[in-house]
């Protein structure tokens, strides 16, 4: 790939050694385009007109972004467009569905009792202990999907498991429907503030999600409640939250809003980092464990690395440290967003398939990873985007 780059007349903006011709990029994009078409045709067979329009738009959108990944050899900026769109459109579709169904974003206790709470995959680590030792699920949802109970627990855990097998921690940059909100806010500022603080205390900040994970898992198992959902999830602010009916639920709502404003809006604007994902999210910490069994990773080619630490500065979740760069590795919490690979001027940060020699055919490793990741992103995120677009089309006065 690298040798071909000198033959092709690369635009200045596309400095990646994996830059390709249009024809070759189209060929490489074709499998994703066909797969998306097949998947959406099957999934939305009986859907209404608005959803069909949404699905068609999403197929074009996802295919175009994949084409640009192939054409430019860059991953991060095209993935970010999808991810930010997902982050900002997911609440639109979700809230529209809630308002249409129950007229409010708050979930009354009667809905919890009847098992109507949609299951969020982020709850999975917190219900594990009671499920494993007592066969009890401490979530007010339904185990099996039915007409009145979509997004049931079995369906969403099945989906999470399949995604985790393929993506590992990359769930956080290709599948999470919340991460795009803060990635969007982090993209706004030109300057990085609090940079020294984040670099200096990166080691400690990285440990916070693990501490929260252990705390939440143990307390959830002890009090038989999904503590994170009830008290700590910032994204309740833009989805659904327990109806405010007393002081306790009022405090809960206050905590959700405070965490959302602080971790998802203000700190990403100041630091250009995904602060909620990197320094708070216990589900992200849990997903990091699956990086151990995932086949794909990012490595630093020590022969090319000049220790400029640009990759460390750029990483949205502080998944690189000076020590890890010296060892030629990323840390366990790397979510394979590709930011470090794209930013590295020496092409030292590379995609890598475990078991193969480092920096030998990194573009092949990237392709293999991206096909799986983009297919799943299209399936899950794409379906959410299609639903949200359908909701927006439904609001249009001339629809």
């Amino acid at each position: 790939m690298a040798s071909r780059s000198s033959v092709l007349q690369r635009p200045a903006a596309f400095r990646s050694p994996a830059y390709r011709s249009v024809a070759r990029s189209v060929l490489l994009t074709l499998p994703i385009a066909l797969w998306s078409l097949l998947m959406f045709t099957r999934s939305f067979r009986h859907a209404g007109r608005n959803l069909h329009i949404g699905a068609v738009l999403v197929i074009f959108f996802m295919t175009a972004l994949f084409f640009l990944m192939m054409r430019t050899g860059e991953t991060y900026r095209w993935r970010r467009i999808f991810f930010v769109a997902l982050g900002f459109l997911f609440p639109v579709g979700f809230i529209a569905a809630l308002i249409a169904e129950r007229g409010t974003m708050s979930i009354p206790i009667s809905r919890m009792v009847s098992g109507d709470t949609p299951y969020c995959p982020m709850v999975t680590p917190f219900i594990l202990l009671p499920a494993a030792f007592g066969r009890t699920i401490i979530f007010p949802g339904s185990i099996v999907s039915s007409a009145g109970h979509p997004h049931a627990i079995a369906e969403m855990i099945g989906l999470w498991f399949a995604f985790t097998l393929v993506l590992g921690k990359a769930w956080c940059s290709y599948a999470c429907f919340f991460g795009g909100i803060e990635e969007g806010f982090a993209a706004f500022p030109k300057r990085r503030r609090l940079h020294r603080f984040v670099t200096k205390y990166g080691e400690i900040l990285r440990l916070i999600p693990w501490a929260i994970l252990v705390f939440v898992v143990l307390v959830s198992a002890a009090i038989f409640e999904p503590v994170y959902c009830m008290w700590l999830c910032p994204f309740k602010t833009v989805t659904e939250f327990p109806a405010v009916r007393n002081l306790e639920t009022a405090i809960q709502f206050g905590v959700f809003v405070t965490l959302f404003v602080g971790l998802v809006v203000v700190l990403p604007l100041l630091t250009k980092k995904r602060t909620q994902c990197g320094f708070f999210c216990p589900f992200g910490a849990f997903q990091s464990l699956f990086n151990k069994i995932n086949l794909f990773e990012i490595r630093i080619n020590r022969e090319k690395c000049v220790d400029c630490t640009l990759c460390q500065t750029t990483c949205p979740t502080v998944a690189l440290s000076k020590d890890s760069i010296h060892e030629g590795k990323t840390l366990l919490n790397c979510m394979k967003c590709g930011a470090c690979v794209d930013v590295c001027k020496k092409d030292a940060a590379v995609w890598h398939l475990k078991g193969t020699p480092v920096a030998v055919k990194p573009e092949r490793a990237r392709l293999l990873f991206l096909y799986g990741a983009w297919a799943l992103a299209t399936m899950f995120g794409g379906s959410i985007l299609a639903g949200s677009l359908a909701a927006i089309i439904g609001f249009l006065p001339w629809r």
Binding site: T136, I143, A162, I223, F224, E225, R245, G355
Partner: protein
Amino acid sequence: MRTRVLSILAYTGAALMLVVAACVPFKLMGIFSNGVAHAGLHIDAKFTGGTIARTIERSGYKIVVYQLVEPRLLDRSEPFVQLVFEPADSLPRRVSQEIDLDGDGQPDVRVSFNLPSDPNAPMRGDVTALNGKYVSLTHVGGESFSRMVVRTGNQIVVRVPLNKEWARR
């Protein structure tokens, strides 16, 4: 030689992952979901109300009495008994029933509520304890998992908390 074998294994694994990714929406997710659905898991009784103890038939409707749900470990909720009046469509506008919760043949509580004509309207009701075992509730709606009179679909769900001192015995 070792590097070559490892590389072959790695590419085989990567190809398998691609197959898994491609099959997720068509078959694989269903297989995984069925696996979870058949794992013998159940939703915690605090949310579902637990298991049915017996059914009391009334003219046109029935009252389902559930077994006592007791909090576990450090669970903050109170012990409670759930009652379900169904179908709500067949209930009279005003319901006031004395009900035996523990099956000893003696009524334990009187449950009273008015059924709003709008199924989505919030409900309120009263529970009067007829002995020291249960707690009386006045004008209760969806206050907590152990104290409620709410409508869920075509059912009216009532949860009556057990007196704490009685629960300790």
